[in-house]
């Protein structure tokens, strides 16, 4: 009898322990790409969240080559509770596979639509359902070597005519007008393609092409592609010609630019993170301006919208509610977001939430604050453009940056390139694989 009582007591105590564990022992995992992880993430996000949420333990784990690691983990059923992907276009296949939790109910309850910038919130939707929140956003601008400009009495270009005048002046004094290259990142081609599409064909035409109202063979798109082909191949504006462009890695063209061997670069705001070191070493100064419109079709300048990595909730996670709380904690505090972003030079972790100039940590570079302020004002007016890695489905996206090299080398014509591009888009349209595209302010041309 005593033995029976002991067994029952043991069982009850085990159940009791189990109940306590279930209540207090929720651990959620969040994998992040190592190279882009802020060094203060443990203190600013993880510890702060864990302190504010007794009973939930958030674990942030750095991973090399996160996308491949995550795909493997998904196949093995070992994916973390929060799924980070390299971009919105990656989410679609996870949604198709039922791996991503719809977040509409949580978003409505927690007011996420008011917390996240409108266009960024839309970019996380597929078929009207919210599946992801961007973890960072960025855009493309024209960086210039301020020291070189001042030495030569040049002003930062605000129109295409001024841009062309600087190009000619730079060639006259024997420096490259622009530096760039794709040796260490072949898709760098798409930075240039995206810029020329938006700055020449204009936001309305790009939007219409994205939603299928005009084909990619439209004369405005042909004109943009031809202008870039002429600049990079015929005029050799980028680092002195195609061969140098293909031999240049990221460090090479940044060094060319910082040392004054090149006057400008057309690139992304992720350079806020890395460009300072090169200029410090060279003893020069840099600054940036919006990319000037390159044709009348483009109207007043705008900013291309780009989300970088995104975060979603794993549909197979047993701790979905806790994962949603972690997401909400991040996007509810602009000051926390900016602390993380400042740690990585505003090149990553710029979560697209509403923040004002006063939210930036003390000592933030004025050029960075100026960008985010202007970006908010300009995109708020609907002067938005479209980056290829955010709004293009995977296959047309790869075609855009891969096959354009054949155009530059003269293997195929611009028209042949765009006909194939249109064909690939049609396949995606037929399959219903299009990504959400926020509309620009129309009629502003």
């Amino acid at each position: 009898m005593i033995r029976r009582i002991l067994v029952v007591a043991l069982l009850l105590s085990t159940l009791g322990v189990g109940a306590v564990s279930a209540q207090d022992g929720v651990t959620i995992t969040w994998w992040s790409e190592v190279f882009s992880m802020p060094s203060n993430i443990q203190e600013v996000l993880v510890d702060a969240f864990n302190e504010a949420h007794p009973g939930i333990t958030l674990e942030m784990v750095g991973q090399e080559d996160l996308n491949q690691t995550l795909r493997t983990a998904i196949q093995a059923g070992e994916a973390p509770d929060l799924l980070v992907t390299p971009g919105a276009s990656f989410i679609a296949e996870y949604v198709d596979a039922g791996l991503v939790e719809p977040l509409d109910d949580a978003a409505a309850e927690l007011g996420w639509a008011d917390k996240v910038l409108d266009w960024a919130y839309q970019s996380g939707q597929l078929g009207g359902v919210l599946y992801s929140i961007p973890l960072t956003y960025e855009s493309l601008v024209l960086f210039y070597n301020k020291t070189v400009f001042e030495e030569n009495g040049w002003e930062a270009p605000t129109t295409f005519e001024e841009f062309e005048a600087i190009v000619a002046a730079a060639q006259d004094i024997g420096i490259y007008p622009l530096a760039y290259g794709n040796a260490t990142w072949q898709p760098s081609n798409e930075h240039l393609m995206g810029m020329y599409l938006n700055a020449y064909a204009g936001r309305e035409n790009v939007y219409k092409a994205l939603v299928g109202e005009i084909p990619w063979t439209h004369e405005s798109i042909v004109g943009a592609t031809e202008l870039l082909r002429r600049h990079i191949a015929d005029d050799a504006l980028f680092s002195g010609g195609l061969e140098n462009y293909f031999a240049n890695g990221g460090d090479d063209w940044r060094a060319e630019f910082a040392s004054g061997e090149a006057a400008m670069i057309l690139s992304g705001t992720w350079n806020f993170r890395s460009i300072g070191g090169f200029f410090e070493e060279a003893g020069n100064e840099w600054d940036w301006v919006p990319i000037p419109s390159m044709s009348d079709m483009a109207g007043e300048y705008g900013y291309e919208l780009a989300t970088g990595t995104t975060v979603s909730v794993n549909a197979q996670s047993p701790n979905k509610d806790a994962a949603i709380k972690a997401l909400d904690f991040l996007i509810s505090d602009p000051a926390l977001v900016l602390k993380l972003a400042a740690d990585v030079g505003f090149g990553e972790w710029v979560v697209p939430v509403h923040f004002g100039v006063d939210d930036f940590p003390e000592g933030t570079d004025e050029r960075v604050v100026r960008f985010f302020s202007d970006f908010a004002a300009v995109t708020g007016e609907g002067r938005i453009g479209y980056t290829t890695w955010t709004f293009w489905p995977a296959a047309p996206n790869v075609h855009l940056w891969e096959a354009v090299e054949n155009v530059w080398w003269g293997d195929i014509s611009v028209e042949e390139y765009l006909e194939e591009h249109e064909r690939l888009w049609q396949i995606e349209r037929d399959a219903g694989n299009l990504l959400p595209v926020p509309a620009p302010a129309m009629g502003g041309m």
Binding site: N67, E93, D96, A97, G98, L99, N244, F246, A247, D252
Partner: protein
């Protein structure tokens, strides 16, 4: 013959219950390895063959599409360019490192003091990680800060001052050069070991017959090291189908697909376009290549070649 003289060859006899038990025992011992092989080799391989007939993206559901991926392969100009580059790569690697390895090994056989140091020196590049080798050579071949630029500025030697990896005329050969730099020590060491095992009496007899150094090499060394040589050629022909890292880390297959090989095309298709089904079809061609090489090797052996 040997069995009739009293020695028992393993597995040659299958008489009685005891033998069957022994046979069963052997199978039981090998079973874990067979199981492991089925799980990590045969299973994924068969799965790979299956997904070549589907539209699988890499995650989620897959639909059977019959021969659609194979029809696409026939129309895929990038694939044909990649296949041609694989053939060029194979030709280069069947000749350059083998010739260098033979010459180096033959010359080293005449050296007694310092041979080990030279062996190590030649072999070191082979053990360097490809990411290190490509990083170094990318700078050495850079048109602005590279070796060619330095030679041009310092000595007026201009012919090396090119964007080796930036030009589509030279990109593939530039990468092949750096891979050869890293690889040739491997055949050298293997061939040196094979040459060291050749019976010295054969050389003495050849010398008595008045054979020159070249004739000794041609008629004594080469036939004696033929198994090693053929093994190297076989492995190079297989590895050349699978080449990936040096190209991926330097040009990614560019410029304009000039250095594209099947491996980089497969990678882009699977992990950039998310067309894993079609990527598996490209993978099947690589398997076919390897099968043809191995089949040729087996055929030659059956024809009595000593390889």
């Amino acid at each position: 013959m040997a069995a009739t003289q009293g020695t028992i060859q393993p597995g040659a006899v299958s008489l009685g219950g005891g033998s069957r038990r022994r046979e069963l025992g052997r199978w039981l011992f090998i079973l874990p390895v067979v199981f492991l092989n089925l799980v990590v080799i045969v299973g994924p391989a068969l799965f790979g063959v299956y997904i070549a007939f589907t539209d699988w993206s890499g995650v989620g559901s897959m639909n059977f599409v019959g021969l659609e991926n194979f029809a696409r392969l026939l129309q895929d100009q990038v694939f044909w360019k990649a296949l041609r580059n694989n053939l060029v790569w194979t030709a280069i690697f069947l000749v350059v490192p083998i010739v260098l390895g033979l010459l180096g090994a033959y010359m080293l056989t005449g050296i007694r003091r310092g041979q080990m140091f030279m062996r190590v020196a030649f072999f070191v590049p082979y053990v360097l990680p490809s990411v290190v080798t490509t990083h170094i050579w990318r700078y050495l071949m850079h048109p602005r800060v590279g070796l060619g630029q330095w030679l041009s500025d310092t000595f007026g030697i201009d012919f090396l001052d090119k964007a080796w990896l930036g030009s589509r005329d030279t990109a593939l050969y530039g990468i092949a050069f750096m891979d050869n730099w890293h690889f040739w020590g491997f055949p050298l060491v293997l061939l040196l070991a094979a040459m060291s095992a050749v019976d010295v009496e054969l050389y003495e007899v050849a010398r008595l017959d008045g054979a020159s150094r070249f004739q000794q090499f041609r008629h004594v060394t080469l036939p004696s090291i033929r198994p090693t040589l053929v093994f190297l050629l076989l492995m190079i022909a297989i590895w050349s189908a699978l080449v990936f890292d040096y190209i991926f880390l330097t040009t990614g297959g560019g410029p304009a697909n000039a250095s594209e090989v099947m491996g980089t095309h497969l990678y882009t298709t699977a992990f950039e376009r998310f067309q894993t089904g079609y990527a598996a079809t490209i993978g099947l061609v690589m398997v076919l290549w390897v099968a043809l090489v191995v089949g040729g090797f087996v055929y030659l052996r059956k024809r009595g070649w000593e390889i």
